[in-house]
Amino acid sequence: MEDLLKDLAQAKPPTPEVDHDRMERDLARILSTPRLRPARSQFLRRFAPLLVVAAVIVVAVIALPSPSQPVRPAAPPQWWRVLTQHWSLMVVGEPANPYVVRFNSTTDQWVAADSQISVVQKDGDVAPFSLDDDNKWTAAGKPTTAPQVGGNYSVRIGPMKPAVQKTNIAGFQMSAHSKVRFDSIDTLPADPVELKKVLETIAGKDTYQTAMLAMGMMLSNGSWERRQALFDLLEQLDGVRFLGQVNLRNGRSGIGVAISAPSTFQFSGVETQLVINPETGMPIVKRDVLTTPQHGLSANMSISEEEYLLLEKTTIDPILPPDVAVNGEVESPIIER
């Protein structure tokens, strides 16, 4: 966005020179003309004594000596916090009688200058998705594990165990497949074309991976301008569709983009959508939406969502779940069959 608007700014027509004599002449004329009498002036006159009394009370209250309080120096923000609510669907059970389960969990990520702490699988569980799925699961004997349909693993149904992961490497890791880290997205180019080149050093020429990186970067601590540059880059990628204003189920709204997602072992005909708050550039939700009906699920239905509940600087230290070992084993609900 920035580039095009900057170019356009260069094409601005010449600004007319101000004729100061005329300007002052006009001002004198304007000031000599009568102003509209505001309707509220009568109201003010009528209630002026009351307003004066009210003002005196306010001043007296403000002027009262308040109990002395210790002066605390303002601490600078220490953490960038990303609180994400995830859910996703998976088809499990016997191929002849499958049903859908929903993985639901929260990830609380805290990034500081020299460390990163993530609480994963917080408040997590795996449960049948719909009432019909619950009936099928019950009919199957309410198994605690169920095989993936079309996959090689099984799924543990029930609550997830939270885990805490801590690293002392600073910065934002661009992807699970790359060790490249950035202190802030503000260190990256603001020009979408240059930004794309940087992302392609990590994602290669894979448009979808580049889009996923750009979406991931928008979660990190950075300026409005960089987020706008990233959104602009997303819009310019081949195959990306601008969705315009998107109204979400929870009453929030934003603007969004969509890109076709590669098929997984269970779903094909899926597009990934990102919806952001246009005023802040902050992501609101990223979701995978079916473009064709499959597994009993209708088109336009989300099969996974990441809703970003918090993206903020904070001085509050990370809140860790009790009785959970830092860097202990993560008990995934996906297990060997």
Binding site: Q10, A11, P13, P14, M23, L31, G244, Q245, I255, E279
Partner: protein
């Protein structure tokens, strides 16, 4: 009255520039004068950040006297390498709808923030961003049309 005079002197050049870019230099001073006359009459409604409100008044005035004139002023652009790009951009801009031109120029030419520009247009900031995204996309598309590509090539070879 002193506050109004201060706002007047501070905002006059930007109101004049807005009026000139939308109604032509010749009418700009009259429209600016009329803008501040209306503002004076409605002084009680003037917000602390007066510029978007003033431009909203100017906008209503220029809509009745709109005459796009930036082609007439190209003579003021030095004939450098940038000249071709300026011609191209203004022509692409002129090919868009008035609504798209307005959204783009409020930000790019008049230096308003999206929040201020939304106030001028009387819409929410979210709506403004959607309009800005769409207008930008259409401007980019206009710049990519074969006509502009041919023009660009001719400028390179001339």
């Amino acid at each position: 009255m002193e506050d109004f005079s201060a706002v007047y002197r501070e905002c006059y050049p930007r109101v004049l520039a807005y009026a000139a870019s939308h109604a032509g230099a010749q009418r700009a001073e009259d429209i600016t004068s009329e803008t501040f006359t209306i503002a004076w009459r409605k002084l009680d409604q003037m917000p602390s950040n007066a510029l978007p409100w003033l431009l909203g008044i100017t906008r209503n005035l220029v809509r009745t006297a709109r005459r796009q004139v930036w082609h007439d002023e190209l003579a003021d652009v030095p004939a450098t390498d940038d000249f071709a790009q300026v011609v191209e951009l203004r022509a692409a801009l002129a090919s868009l709808s008035e609504a798209d031109q307005e959204v783009l120029t409020l930000v790019a030419w008049h230096g308003l923030t999206p929040v201020e520009a939304a106030q001028v247009l009387g819409c929410t900031t979210a709506t403004f961003f959607v309009r800005l995204h769409r207008a930008r996309r259409r401007l980019r598309a206009a710049l990519s049309t074969p006509n502009f590509d041919r023009a660009r090539e001719s400028w390179k070879t001339s």
